[in-house]
Symmetry: C2
Subunit: 199 residues, 2 copies
């Protein structure tokens, strides 16, 4: 957690989101969390919208690090690790509050093209990472060559998105789904022999 003013404002934005949600959040709430003034926030960001664009940019960096961190030895391991990260439920109430706020923010994207562009970047990055894993797996003979990486990556990413929404909006755990998707990978994506990847 760096302590220059700009970073402190983004950290305070995270805490304010967890506490107040997105819909009713005011710059005053963020200022209170940052122990600063609304004028100081407006010095760094022109508006609430601009603040959230900057916030999503920072979140995007964390997101891509998180997606890339789960390497695994083989494409199969990488895919399994990604599914585990995105689908297993954490019993962390601040995490849940944050996801709820992000769902609110997502629901405003149709009205706000800057937010929509940022959220599209998350979606595209996840799909591209999944596609890369599937391509590598097919090349290595670990995944079935009947796979269509572009389409199957979109399918997996769409299911992950749906799992997040069901978890946040209607409190459905995605733990079962993690098992189902792992099973799907085992049964349908792996080749029958699924050899280890050539070194």
């Amino acid at each position: 957690m760096p302590d220059d003013p700009a970073s402190e404002i983004l950290d305070a934005t995270y805490r304010a989101l967890c506490k107040h949600g997105y819909a009713n959040l005011t710059l005053q709430d963020v200022a209170a969390e940052a122990d600063t003034s609304k004028a100081s926030i407006l010095y760094h960001h022109d508006s609430k919208d601009q603040l959230f664009v900057a916030f999503l940019d920072e979140l995007y960096d964390q997101f891509t690090d998180r997606v890339n961190a789960h390497d695994g030895e083989t494409p199969r391991d990488q895919l399994e690790a990604l599914l585990r990260v995105f689908l297993t439920t954490e019993d962390d109430s601040s995490q849940q509050a944050f996801r709820t706020a992000i769902l609110e923010l997502t629901s405003q994207a149709p009205y706000n093209s800057a937010l929509q562009d940022r959220l599209s970047d998350f979606d595209e990055f996840l799909i591209e990472r999944l596609r890369g894993i599937l391509v590598a797996g097919v090349d290595a003979g670990q995944f079935d060559d009947a796979i269509e990486p572009t389409h199957d990556a979109e399918y997996l990413a769409t299911t992950i998105t749906g799992a997040h929404i069901r978890h946040v909006a209607i409190d459905r755990s995605s733990d079962n789904l993690y098992g189902t998707m792992t099973n799907y990978v085992e049964r349908h994506l792996l080749t029958d022999t699924h050899p280890e990847v050539a070194q």
Copy 2:
């Protein structure tokens, strides 16, 4: 479109949602659409929350009719019809405005247990219908008996939910996904021979 006052209020709620979205919608907006007074709305519904519970109840009836209407001859046909209904994109701007409003409403579910209960009903109904189709397909020898209907139905419903969110929030068509899921059904759910269902 019935014209008793209670139904007219719900019809007006639909139109007001399409016009104003959910987050900023006021009872006054609904009253204006219904060409009546806010007091008259409050005579039928105690609050905006109560109005939306009633609205979701009516929407649920339409949803279950829509899910059940797509019968098809065989379980495979039924599944294909359901996917087509839920995944193919309609270029209908009022439909898009309505889905956007429903996403906003969904984002408020974590803060409102009555809304959350209603939205859970939609989710459960869709999963149960999919499960029924999968069970019937396995029984008829049309679907692979390695299918786990409860888990696979949740998987399909979760993907459908994700497709709706990506369509509404970040404007991603689900047309490709419809092809991918149909392909998934063909490749992975059907038995190799997929005989016609026994009469």
